[in-house]
Amino acid sequence: MRLASHVKTNRLAMVGMIILWVFILGAVFAQLLMPHDPWRHFVPFMSPSVTHVLGTDDVGRDIFSELILGARVSLTVGFMAGLIAVGIGVLVGLLAGFRRGYLDEILMGLTDVVLVIPALPLVILVSVYLGPGIWYTILVIGLVFWPSTARVIRSQVLSVRQSGYVESARALGAGDGWLMRRHVLPNVLPLILAKFVLTVAAAMLMEASLSFLGLGDPMAKSWGMMLHYAFARGGFIREMWWWYVPPGVCISLCILSLTLISFSIEEGSDPRLRRALDR
């Protein structure tokens, strides 16, 4: 696929891929990498030392181990919520773009309505009612983040459908199914991928924000929740920067790598955009 080779030749995207893989591997092999049991209590508020690379928190847990386990939670929420959001978005976008007519108007009307509702306050409200739980968080974020995907996919489907090559294929005798398989999907796929990567980033940020406000699941400690505890339980006041800087760095690096990857996919999929950038 040309797209893959494009991502390979794009240096920034390569950097993004490497960072992301480091975090994914860290999350998968967390059990092997953690120096301590993240639930075990040591002396609270310890400064970094050889045994506790990043010290301990307010109840004496090893911060470095929490950080590694946090990757698992943050990435899981990001990817699962991204999957739900993009899944709904793609479904709505394809349906609206391909069927047109009243279905299109209803679906896009709904999309526009959800699009203008501010996400964070809504998610806060629902999470407060639902109470903590990582699966609730995933579901709620997934249900809020689909509209932008739906819009983008729909407009791409429309532009592909109105393109000369779909017209030509139709004139060759191709039916809807053929057009979908042969022309619409291949031309929409890179966009779906780019949108997925971006939505994962947005979902991770949203989860971190929720956790920072204290709405996270205490049984599944994410980076956002580490920031929350550091901020609310004295880490910030005590100037324990080793407590709240690392989780922030991890979140930022993840978002950065995802953004770089999505930029590169979008650039590679749109020859016009690439031409504009080359000029």
Binding site: Y165, A171, G173, P271
Partner: protein, 319 residues
């Protein structure tokens, strides 16, 4: 009579949202308005039309790529609009288009090999080996080397792209080729190259060709019969042999450069240039140096003034 168009009309409705602004109303665009003609097997039927004449809509409606508002298109006596999906597929097997702007008619993600294989796959023609053989033969006919099979449309020149598009249509071995501006946007030498190729292939494959263009020279060079379209209607239809001599509609004479038209300079975009409203009368009346009183109220019928020569004009009396 291989293809017959009977009183065909395709109208568009431009909608204005009532909440948006007062004073804007929905209006109807008569892109194709009561057009009739018949194409006999083996001929080159030319249609001349400038931008906004409805020629592209006509081509699309004939291919059933958009719905008609009224009238019918008959292929060997059978209505194209009454066809079910398998009949339509068969129709599209035998009537093929070549569109203008080959750049957009080729999927940028497919290489030439996949583009050329598509029609064969859609109609389930041959196995992989025979398909390859067909494509190879076709590539030879359009003077491209086999190395082109692996290239993407963006790596081809404009002329090469149009040749690939032509080859794709011809792979189905159609009876009729509807070519809509096949050379617009191409340089003079490339235009000649593509036109020569198209006429040669027409001879070799025994095609019927409907050649649609804004370029009077191209149409006049190649066509056996020529229809002139102006704002959705055919205003003149005559034989190609002595077209320039016999042409008598004021608009045709303007196109030929033998007659000036009333200098109508529209300052603003809109009514005059593209949108033909629902008002009665001859659409050319405002630009016509010969216009009569009646031209503004009654739309002239297309009628035969002499053998094989039809004109829609009030100012010209039948011989």
């Amino acid at each position: 009579m291989i293809l017959e168009v009977r009183h065909l009309s395709t109208h568009y409705l431009v909608r204005h949202n009532p909440l948006a602004r007062f004073g804007h109303r929905d209006h109807l665009i008569r892109a194709v308005d009561d057009v009739s003609f018949a194409v006999t097997a083996g001929e080159v039927f030319g249609i001349i039309g400038e931008s906004g004449s409805g020629k592209t809509t006509l081509a699309r409606t004939m291919l059933r790529l958009c719905d008609s508002t009224a009238g019918d298109v008959l292929h060997r006596g059978r209505s194209v609009f009454a066809m079910n999906s398998s009949e339509l597929k068969q129709y599209r097997h035998s009537v093929q288009p070549v569109f203008q702007d080959a750049d957009s008619t080729l999927d940028p993600r497919q290489h030439v090999g996949a583009i050329l294989e598509e029609p064969l796959l859609i109609h389930g023609i041959g196995d992989a080996a025979t398909r390859r053989q067909y494509i190879g033969g076709m590539l030879e006919q359009i003077n491209l080397s086999p190395s082109f099979l692996q290239r993407h449309p963006s790596e081809l020149s404009g002329g090469q792209r149009q040749r690939v598009a032509l080859a794709r249509s011809l792979l189905l071995n159609p009876e009729v080729l509807i070519a809509d501006e096949p050379t617009s946007g191409l340089d003079p030498l490339v235009t000649t190259q593509v036109l020569a190729l198209m006429l040669r292939l027409k001879q070799d494959h025994g095609l019927t060709l409907i050649l649609i263009s804004h370029d009077l020279e191209t149409v006049a060079y190649a066509s056996d019969r020529i229809a002139v379209m102006y704002r959705g209607r055919i205003v003149e239809l005559s034989g190609g042999e002595d077209f320039a001599q016999r042409a008598s509609h004021p608009y045709t004479r303007f196109l030929l450069g033998v007659e000036r038209r009333v200098p109508e300079i529209p300052v603003l975009e809109g009514v005059h240039e593209h949108i033909h409203g629902a008002e009665d009368g001859c659409a050319y009346a405002n630009s016509c140096p010969h216009h009569l009183h009646v031209c503004h109220s009654i739309s002239p019928e297309l009628r035969e003034t002499s053998q094989g020569h039809l004109i829609a004009c009030h100012a010209i009396a039948p011989e």
